[in-house]
Amino acid sequence: MSTSSNNDILLAISTPPFWHCGRTIRKNSLHTLIALTPAVIMSLLQWGMPAARVMALAVLAAMATEAVCQTLMKQKLSQDNGTAAITGLLLAFLLPASAPWWLVVIGAACAMGIGRMAFGGYGANQVNATLVGWAMIFVSFPFLMDPTASQLQTTLADPLLKLKYFGAEAVADISVIDLLLGNQLGGLGSSQVGALLLGGIYLVLRGVVRWEIALSFLGGTFLAATCLHFVDGSLYAGPFFHMGTGSTVLAAFFLATEDSCSPHRRLPMLLYGLTGGILVVLIRAFGSYTDGAPFAVMLINLLAPMFALIRSHPFGTGPRKAGSADWRTRA
């Protein structure tokens, strides 16, 4: 074998680094889908075919919208990286299983079209795309989005609704185990709290989502709920109730952690999550909506650039006053 004289080998030219951690967008999406699988299974067990219908429709509509937008924008089609499917699936998780087909399609189209593609594509949006779609249909069709009003063939109740209208004592007997097992009325996937927690921990251990955000989001919820509960236990429910109901866990692990909408350094991430968690409880306790988690995430998404301004001084430069003449201290 003589390699030096063999000139028909075509070598690949590339730029450093030549080694790579092996993570790609596609692999991260795959891990996220794996993490969402327990919740999908649990919601199928709970709601059956209607849930499957909503999830499939949302995923397909999201991918189709992305494809149409990318064609119009003359971008390369990228449905194979799975990010559109995740956006669609997460949207389905927030909808009741009884949602009509056109609602799902409008929601998914808004999420992808206005939430993501209007900003340029995956990773360019400032606010979580899923939540943009959700907010548009939630505000436009509140009756159809409310599982208590539209999901008639069930004996389950929405614990947050109970809390809002009957006070903390009415929900005091709801056990955490029931909440974890998904025995509550809510979004078809977001109410599968235990399954989502399992998937979320998997993602954290995989390093796909940042533990700082998930942990501080749940920590913020815990903290705020505990404070309010101590102030007036008959009016405000305990911390585990708030963490186990609505879409708190879904928001902590899957919505607030979207990379492009959150800060990237440690302290800003902790503050970002903490603010989100506190907002969840504040919106639930003092706002007009029963579940504050999606709105809390949208608010902290908008605050993320502010949090990102908190950064340590660059390598080898001391902490100096802002606005000093030295170019090295400008953030």
């Binding site: 030096s4 030219i13 951690c21 993570r23 390093g207 080898g316 430069t317 170019w327």
Partner: protein, 413 residues
Amino acid sequence: MKQYFHIINDPRFRLVYNEHRHFGMGPAPRKIRLNREGFTIVPGVKKKTMVYPGMLLAEHPSLDKGDLHAPIYGTITEINARSIFVEAVDPEKVEPGTFPAPLEPVDLIREGKEGEDLVLAVKKMGVNTRSLGRRVKTLIVNGLNPEPGVRWAEPMLAEHAAEIRAGLELQRRFRRAEEIMLAVPAGCDVRLAGIRTVQVDPMYPNSVNELMIREVTGEENPPDVAAVGLHNVWSLGRVALTGLPLMETVITIGTARDWANYIVKNGSIVGELLEFAEISLKSGDTILRGGPLRGESLDRLDRSITKGAYGFFVVNAGEVPPIEGDSPCINCGACIQICPTRIDPRMLSRYAEFGRYDMSRKENFRLCVDCGLCGYVCIARRPVLQYIRLAVKKLDEEERLSRLTPIEPVARA
């Protein structure tokens, strides 16, 4: 537990490999290709000149850069703007008298030169003296493998310490530093007489000079401290021990499965090295000179190992996810989290991508230590390090031009 949360979970980034084989001798080259950019060819050296090991071929006008010597017996087949090509000749098969008697060794240690005289003598022996340190208070010899995958540091400190000792002796006589220290990987028990050793956590990127200095001194970019690479000290020691000009370099030749350290002649053709190490290539593979994180990929098998190169690696097709055209940044923030100098590679890469090099200034692009981790963790497979290097080059150029005074048009009488 920390590893679970850490982005890098790659055992290769621990720069201690328990490698203790002696360096092998590289192949006897059939051809040599020496880089001559910036050098002035000495009179009498032209096509068809017969050369012998240690023969001076070209000088560098700068005091910092070592001169160029022929590493083998041979004939110059071509000299172009970039390279000198030498074809090997068996000295026993030519007429006696074609080549002069072998060079008389110069014992730099015995000679007792010091200071600038010694620097000049070492330059004439082909060693790059710039890499041997500026005039500072403390000089730290970086005894870590420079990059993941490069594995010569441990055998160099243990099995080939004679060269290091000689190199450090000369280094001391340069009188460029008041104190010389040796940074070694933690757990590596190295003692060299008369020199203080400091143990450093051997996780990449701690082997990058700036970060190694921080590990040793506890300060970031402290004044009056500089670092020199172990590889350079070894080259210096090699010259001191052999008494001959620098004609070889130590490299790790590595693939994903196997590796070994060799002493190879400067200018060895990479195709010959591959053949020697019995590595076969397929189309789509990448070969690179230098290390896997900061090196450069070569386009052809007749490229050569340049003076001072410390590694030669093969990355097979499919080993890493392919780069697929222009991939936009998706703001995942992995590079921001991994960057050891706390700058923002995400924005820097975008500024360079869209030609807004001036914007790089407000993101402290000059603090980049070139470790390559940003590209290593990029899930969109963007050439982040290359973008930053591009910005540095463009802005250097711009600053150089801005220092020139414009020429006034000559007024016509």
